[in-house]
Symmetry: C2
Subunit: 212 residues, 2 copies
């Protein structure tokens, strides 16, 4: 349970990482834009080629855990791909402030059978916070398969309510962050944040100013 150990190591900390504070400020300054929470998530397919798609940021995992969360359908191709290679990099561009974050780490997929109760609770919490149309999509026919002349009802099944248990196809996706880069197009500044484990076992983030 390396993940639980890591969570414990940062519990009770007094400060959040600079990069998380920066992202929170960017979100705040760009919140009038409908797509300010849309990010592009890159992973690697089983044939060694990259995959890239837009996903919605669903918040940080907890006050004391800086993992980013997303959701996916258990039937989507990326779930199988992540079982082989969990590495990911998010590109997140904020149009209002003209900033880009690149966020690298490993993804963990939390389905109904996951063993960690805290992560199962996070899955249920994100499910409850989804829009009705967002919840409804997890009852749709198999994503990516040829579209059949099916009963139109297949697309119109009523969505489960926010307090209903998540559908089995609903997965929480957790990005455990190892490195962050911020590029500011207005000021031509660029910062790199790298994770390091300190001698006492706690996490620290090193900040470096690099050439844009």
């Amino acid at each position: 349970m390396a993940f639980a150990a890591e969570v414990a190591a940062v519990a009770g900390r007094l400060t959040t990482p600079i990069w998380r504070d920066k992202i929170q400020r960017s979100l705040s300054k760009n919140k009038h834009l409908a797509n300010s929470r849309y990010v592009q998530l890159a992973t690697v397919r089983q044939d060694g080629r990259p995959a890239n798609r837009t996903v919605v940021f669903r918040g940080f995992l907890a006050d004391d855990d800086d993992s980013l969360t997303f959701v996916t359908d258990s039937r989507s191709r990326k779930v199988q791909e992540l079982a082989v290679n969990p590495a990911a990099e998010v590109a997140w561009y904020f149009p209002q402030t003209r900033e880009q974050y690149r966020i690298a780490g490993n993804l963990v997929v939390i389905d109904a059978a996951h063993v960690d109760n805290a992560l199962l609770e996070a899955r249920a919490r994100v499910w409850s916070a989804m829009s009705e149309s967002g919840r409804q999509q997890f009852g749709w026919p198999h994503p990516g398969r040829p579209r059949a002349a099916e009963d139109p009802e297949a697309w119109n099944n009523p969505a489960p309510g926010p307090q209903d248990p998540p559908l089995d196809t609903f997965c929480l996706v957790v990005l455990r962050v190892d490195e962050v880069e911020q590029l500011l197009l207005r000021s031509n500044e660029r910062f790199r944040y790298s994770k390091a484990i300190k001698e006492d076992g706690s996490l620290a983030w090193a900040e470096e100013s690099i050439n844009p």
Copy 2:
């Protein structure tokens, strides 16, 4: 010269691929948004992990060549990475029309020493069309290296003019497209376009409607 042969195969065609027409329409409908030409380009690093960054779409290569073009600095890490693994996937989200394109293929980097004259001409054309600040960046200190307390002049060298030859660091990046997916969030439609070589050697694009 597989590339030249491929270009020849499509020369003189009467129609452009449906997906290219669709992207042109999306660009037109979203052109009031300053970042409608910003896309996210995913590649694979030498350690097998994905990389993802925002780049500016610089147009299709030619009327009869549907490759997408971008630019990069020869000193950027991705140039070395692409020499090992040229595979790429672009994610392109259009906020106004709520559409996503995923565009997969292989990247070719065109530097000053490239052997193909047509591609060198394309490199010079894109250089001339760059903004002054865009051209200036190719004279900046080495991207990604620690920022030094250098002479501030290093950042203020005047940009070469649009008619000056491109700086040696200036590379054209050409994405030779193999597959395109379009996802329409408004109508919940999703289309896949796959490249195929017909019996007479010409290119064809197969369209398939798939589940969103």
